[in-house]
């Protein structure tokens, strides 16, 4: 177990290191790295001064070492546009993204598991087929297009919900959230639904196939023979076994929700870190782009690691590292 943990942590660190090398070399090879640190309006003298101050006359590997040393201390440069620490900017936007992602994953779970159970228990009925057809559409529609349609129908045509933005945040138990007011929920509903759709389809499919598999198992037949009610068999025995892979997938998919939130946040003008990335790319605010990429990779590695661990804790049959012991 501890060997496995160590090797996983090592792998994660490797990935972060490779990513930092890629970002560093990419920015070095494509653009002048001085652009990363000086204002685009700077004159020749300032550019020369910055070049010397940053040590850009030194060999490449030495510069990379410096980049890594600073990054470990949490210094990923200053934003040109906002004039603040790039990492701080991202951390400021993180709560908005997390809020959106949490509401989205909640929608996906609350609707996905019952729908998947229904489709798994009654696969040949009209409703069962309808649910599966819907999940295929949910998979193949581009997220941004669904977002546009939601805005067109619910915000422009029916005028039920606001089309964009996040409500004013309030402090609840020390956490800044927009969900304390009704207006906050009205704002979050459409973007969260948009972000949830893909995960909803995934959870529906997973639950359905898990249910169908569980129904053929001996323990379900035994429970039936024992005279248990259908509700108890499904609610306790089937659901318990179906939930294990779903919980793991939810853990892993939470990372990809953060990535997909780039699209949803842009469509709905949600002030999260995904929108910050797109704004920074179009404004050539490179320090923020670098900081975002490094931050997301670290986050991603951490999330995958934790959900792997959770899987092995939930399902004792799974042995980490492959070897049975």
């Amino acid at each position: 177990m501890s060997t496995y943990l160590l090797s996983r942590i090592g792998q994660g660190l490797m990935l972060v290191l490779i990513m930092s090398l890629l970002v560093f070399l990419g920015l070095f090879a494509i653009g002048n790295p001085v652009d990363m640190f000086v204002n685009p309006q700077a004159d020749q003298a300032e550019i020369a001064r910055t070049t010397a101050a940053l040590g850009l006359d030194k060999p490449l590997w030495e510069q990379y070492g410096q980049f890594v040393r600073k990054a470990i201390k949490g210094d990923l440069g200053q934003s040109f546009v906002h004039g603040a620490s790039a990492l701080q900017l991202i951390l400021d936007r993180l709560p908005a993204t997390l809020e959106l992602a949490l509401v989205a994953i909640t929608i996906a779970i609350v609707f996905g598991i019952p729908l998947g159970l229904w489709a798994g228990l009654k696969p040949d009925t009209f409703v069962g087929r309808f649910i599966m057809g819907g999940s295929i559409i949910g998979f193949s529609l581009p997220t941004f297009w669904v977002g546009l349609m939601l805005i067109m129908v619910f915000a422009v045509h029916l005028q039920w919900l606001p089309a964009s933005g996040r409500a004013v945040t309030e402090s609840v138990l020390g956490v800044q959230t927009s969900l304390a007011s009704l207006d906050g929920w009205r704002h979050v509903l459409l973007p969260a639904l948009n972000l949830a759709l893909f995960k909803l389809s995934l959870i529906v499919r997973l639950t359905r196939s898990g249910t169908r598999e569980a129904l053929t198992q001996d323990y379900v037949r035994f429970a039936r023979a024992k005279g248990l009610t259908g509700r108890r068999i499904v609610g306790v025995h089937v659901l318990k076994n179906v939930l294990v892979p779903i919980i793991t997938v939810i853990g892993m998919e939470f990372g990809s929700l953060l990535a997909f939130s780039v699209v949803t946040e842009t469509v709905f003008a949600w002030p999260g870190m995904g929108k910050l990335l797109i704004d920074s790319i179009t404004q050539l605010d490179r320090p923020v782009v670098v900081a975002y990429l490094m931050f997301v990779v670290v986050l991603y590695v951490a999330i995958n690691f934790v959900s792997d661990l959770a899987y092995s804790l939930l399902d004792p049959r799974v042995r980490l590292g492959g070897a049975a012991r």
Binding site: V23, F144, A259, I278, T282
Partner: protein, 294 residues
């Protein structure tokens, strides 16, 4: 049911699904429309001399200001006929999607064949890279590349290739691992055929069914990914507008009820993606019954 061996057998197996047959016809029409865009379009949407600003933002079915013609799907903010803009946009989207897929397939074939045939440490290293990349969603990989490389047609294609080559590499390697155990591969060893001949003349043809199935699905996701990048404003430049960019241009007008500037390009994108997906699903069922999901 086994995979059909002749073209006629393939066609008759394919036609068993009505929806897939319809999707194939729609897809052919879309391809023809994109190919013939300069002929079919009522106007050249990117020749500014043909645009009339007085005709800007007209709803679908409006006559043009000079009364000579009708705008079937309305006009955009520059008075551009939406039918023409969509046909040209479709062309750009398809070209970028197909080019990216072909490049990704080429890289995937080489990596997959080499990793699967030679095995060992080289294989372990390549597959570790593939696994690592597949653990990231494609949109994130593409965004990372775009953020590093910058914008432009070539860069978008590079980003799409980077996001997708790993799927092909893994598919091909899987097939090669199975095929390598077969007798005909043992025979090539006995005959001491050169390695390139074994890889490309004997192994590759047997990878084709799997490759076609994965490729068809991935073309759709490449097109969707390009549209997403262009919609976000980090994809294709404004000089080569794809469907994603058209949708983005109409987005601001969507809020004021002028839905057609965004809606119709979106519909074109949707129909394209859905028909490719339906065709790909049917191809999977016909070419490889083992892969069928319940």
């Amino acid at each position: 049911m086994s995979a059909p061996t002749s073209l006629a057998g393939f066609v008759s197996a394919y036609r068993k699904s009505t929806s897939a047959t319809l999707a194939a016809i729609v897809l052919l029409l879309i391809l023809a429309a994109a190919l013939l865009a300069p002929v079919l379009s009522p106007q050249d949407p990117y020749d500014l001399a043909q645009l009339d600003l007085l005709d800007a933002r007209l709803p679908p079915g409006s006559p043009s200001g000079d009364g000579t013609r009708q705008y079937l799907l309305g006009t955009d903010a520059q008075g551009r006929d939406m039918v023409s803009a969509i046909l040209y946009g479709l062309r750009t989207s398809l070209v970028v999607g197909v080019c990216a897929t072909l490049c990704a397939v080429a890289i995937g074939i080489v990596v997959g064949l080499v990793a699967g045939y030679f095995g060992g440490r080289f294989d372990a290293l390549l597959m570790r890279i593939v696994d690592m990349q597949l653990s990231f969603p494609a949109i994130l990989v593409a965004l990372i590349l775009i953020a590093i490389l910058g914008q432009g047609v070539g860069k978008v294609i590079t980003a799409l290739v980077a996001a997708q080559w790993a799927y092909y590499a893994r598919t091909i390697r899987g097939v090669v691992l199975v095929e390598s155990q077969r007798e005909y591969i043992a025979a090539t060893r006995v005959l001491a055929l050169p390695v390139t001949s074994v890889l490309f003349r004997h192994l590759l043809p047997n990878c084709m069914p799997a490759l076609i199935v994965v490729g068809a699905l991935q073309v759709a996701s490449a097109i969707a990914l390009e549209a997403t990048l262009s919609f976000l404003g980090v994809g294709l430049p404004i000089t080569e507008p794809s469907l994603g960019l058209l949708i983005a241009n109409g987005f601001t007008y969507l809020l004021s009820g002028k839905y057609w500037i965004s809606f119709f390009p979106g519909l074109a994108l949707l129909v394209t993606i859905m028909s490719i997906n339906l065709v790909a699903d049917q191809l999977r069922d016909v070419l490889n019954p083992r892969l069928r999901v319940d």
